[in-house]
């Protein structure tokens, strides 16, 4: 990794420690405060992928991966929020020149966007919005960041529209994870004249989320594992520090090694020529890894791991939720199998 990216890693790390860690509980209970959004914006993180003139940081793939990993290590919710704004909302807005200015309001923290792709996640009951040529009408279940004021949603023909009115968020779902973001159904009733059609190719957009989702997963693993290592140095049982017991030490050492290898792989593919298959491979592995490590880290904390105040259980929930929101496991594994076999495979 070059100097520039190394500096970015430490700057984001410090930002997370100073600005996010102290308010983590508030983020989990009440959502991401506007104050934090403003601070993220001041650093250019909120519009990470947006060009400078639109308030962004114009980060390259590696820079963006580092940003998400470091933020997720402190707060997976904050990292997912940035991911949603950039990989899904800002990218879609930038497809349409006339509305570029809207990016500015997102990267400044004045607006918040969301993009609906739950229907792509093996979700039977996702609802739907019907386009009758005059109106867009219907309810979408399971909208993440549902208190947004910019919605990018598909109609029943798979065409995407950006709307800024005619929506109402319904009661929240129970929230498995990423609790810093609101999660609920949203009802739409909007005049088509007030919506902007965007030339979104959903499959392309979803191919682009492998690397950022991997980065968040590795950030979760990093955050959880660091906490567990620190705890095992402090906590004693049976007259010894937890770190001295082989099953605990070996488990953490193994996880540490895997994490190191995966981070290295992430840096390599983020720097090199774009390779969607490698990105998908990384995502499949790192999501499962995040779930395992966060479970291990919780276990190391014993009963304390089960309490919100210790800031460890959220990684376990968030990793699980990320694995659901990160893509359709089966479709992706079919795709990967077919690439490996170089013909249709894994379909029975």
């Amino acid at each position: 990794m070059d100097e520039e990216h190394r500096v970015l890693e430490s700057v984001v790390g410090e930002f997370a420690t100073k600005e996010i860690e102290p308010i983590n509980k508030q983020i989990e209970l009440e959502g991401i405060p506007i104050d934090l959004k403003k601070k993220l914006s001041a650093q250019g993180f909120l519009g990470a992928l947006a060009p400078y003139e639109l308030g962004g940081a114009s980060l390259d793939r590696l820079g963006y991966s580092i940003l998400l990993k470091q933020l997720a290590s402190a707060s997976p919710s904050v990292a997912f929020y940035i991911f949603l704004q950039n990989s899904l909302v800002i990218k879609s807005i930038l497809l349409e020149d006339d509305i570029r200015e809207k990016v500015m309001s997102i990267s400044s923290g004045n607006s918040s966007g969301t993009f609906y792709y739950s229907n792509k996640l093996n979700f039977l009951d996702y609802g739907g919005v019907v386009n009758d040529g005059r109106m867009l009408r219907g309810t979408l279940n399971a909208v993440i960041n549902s208190d947004a004021n910019i919605f990018i949603i598909p109609d029943n023909n798979g065409r995407f529209y950006l709307l800024e009115n005619g929506y109402s968020a319904l009661d929240e779902h129970e929230k498995l994870g990423l609790r810093g973001l609101r999660f609920s159904p949203v009802r739409f009733e909007v005049d088509i004249g007030n919506a902007v059609e965007l030339p979104v190719n959903i499959d392309e957009i979803l191919d682009d989320i492998h690397l950022p989702i991997s980065s968040i997963a590795l950030g979760i693993a990093q955050g959880a594992l660091n906490k567990a290592i620190e705890y095992a140095k402090e906590r004693s049982a049976f007259l010894h520090k937890l770190k001295d017991f082989q099953p605990l030490a070996f488990g953490m050492a193994q996880a540490y090694s895997q994490l190191d290898i995966l981070k290295e792989y992430m840096v390599n593919i983020a720097q090199g020529e774009r390779d969607i298959n490698k990105e998908l491979m990384l995502k499949i592995v790192s999501i499962d890894f995040a779930r395992e490590v966060s479970k291990l880290a919780l276990q190391v904390h014993g009963g304390y791991g089960y309490l919100m105040d210790f800031g460890i259980e959220k990684y376990y929930r968030d990793a699980m939720f990320l694995s659901i929101l990160g893509g359709n496991h089966i479709d992706e594994k079919i795709k990967l199998s077919s690439t490996i076999f170089q013909e249709k495979a894994g379909w029975i």
């Binding site: 739950s118 996640l121 093996n122 979700f123 039977l124 009951d125 996702y126 279940n141 399971a142 779902h173 129970e174 929230k175 498995l176 004693s236 049982a237 049976f238 007259l239 017991f245 099953p247 605990l248 779930r291 479970k295 919780l298 276990q299 014993g302 009963g303 791991g305 089960y306 309490l307 919100m308 105040d309 259980e313 376990y316 929930r317 699980m320 939720f321 694995s323 659901i324 929101l325 359709n328 496991h329 089966i330 594994k333 029975i348």
Partner: protein
Amino acid sequence: MDFTLPEEIEEKRKKVREFALREFTEERKRYYDENEKYPFDIRKMAYEQGIVNFSNPWDLLVTIEELCRVDPGLGISSFVYAFGSEILMLFGSDEQKKKYLEPVQRGEKIMGFAVTEPVAGSDVAGIASKMERQPDGSYVLNGSKMFITNGSIADYVLVLARTGPPPSEEKRHHNMSMAIVEMKWPGVSANKLRGKMGVRATDTAELVFENVRIPPENIIGEIGKGFYYVMTFFNITRIYVAAMSIGIAQGALDMIVEKAKKDRRFSSQESIQFTIAEMATRVDAARLLTYRAASLLFQFNPDPVFTSMAKYFAAETATYAAETALKVTGLDGAVTSLERLFRDSKIMEIWEGSSEIEKLVIYRMFMKKMGVE
């Protein structure tokens, strides 16, 4: 060898399932989970409708399974008000049974069992609370307890404390004793713990004892035998934790089956079929391990190896099943109570002896069986 339960137990299983499906409504599950409130009304219903029956251990076992299958938070709350009662049954005096145990069994009073401390959980012999004998024969208790189930709603708790210093490092478990402490006594305070990941309907608290005077008749059994009583107790309750875990795992399996029924595309894929096959196998294995351990215990011949194997394996099956079910059902699972099962399941690997502690017990007792001390 007969792998069937008596007919009346299977009948009871059905009755409990109906009760849980009827009374543990989506609104109630969500309300008590979100608000972290103990469901007094549900506890009362479960008692009045004859759901919880402490007099027949097999009946209790299947009841726990079926209640937790629908909702662990409400399920556990329905019977955990008697937590610790086996200690009084086995080691309590007749007066203690009459005064403290019977009202609990009649569903009138709530009890707790307080061993864990901020400084020591797994390492029971590492606790620091002290009970000092006074010239008049009474004891004075000082110390604090952590994570005590029912802590802020109990009428009394059974407390483990030191009644003398450890004689040596190897004998740290000596000189520990148990007493019944009434929560209304001067010097006793409870601080409800909020923000648990799961089983949020159950009550959990931190307790503080400041110069609490305990009359001699509230000492349980013999002075100095406390550690032994606690281990005996765990050998019983681990089987009930295994039953909770099987309930959760079965509940998670139910969710996938539900989705498979609704979605032919989903269930037509072999990877899903294998997931269901593996999960069904593991749930059954956990159940068989548990029933064997239970069968020995209920014939007054408990085997700690089998008990710890059952608790360890069933707890891991619970988290495995909840995780796997969520992973394969995706958002369909995440917006249903499967996400709650997932949050609830993790405690099974922690309380009543973490998985690591179970493995230590299995190793030691197994090697003993193999003739190695």
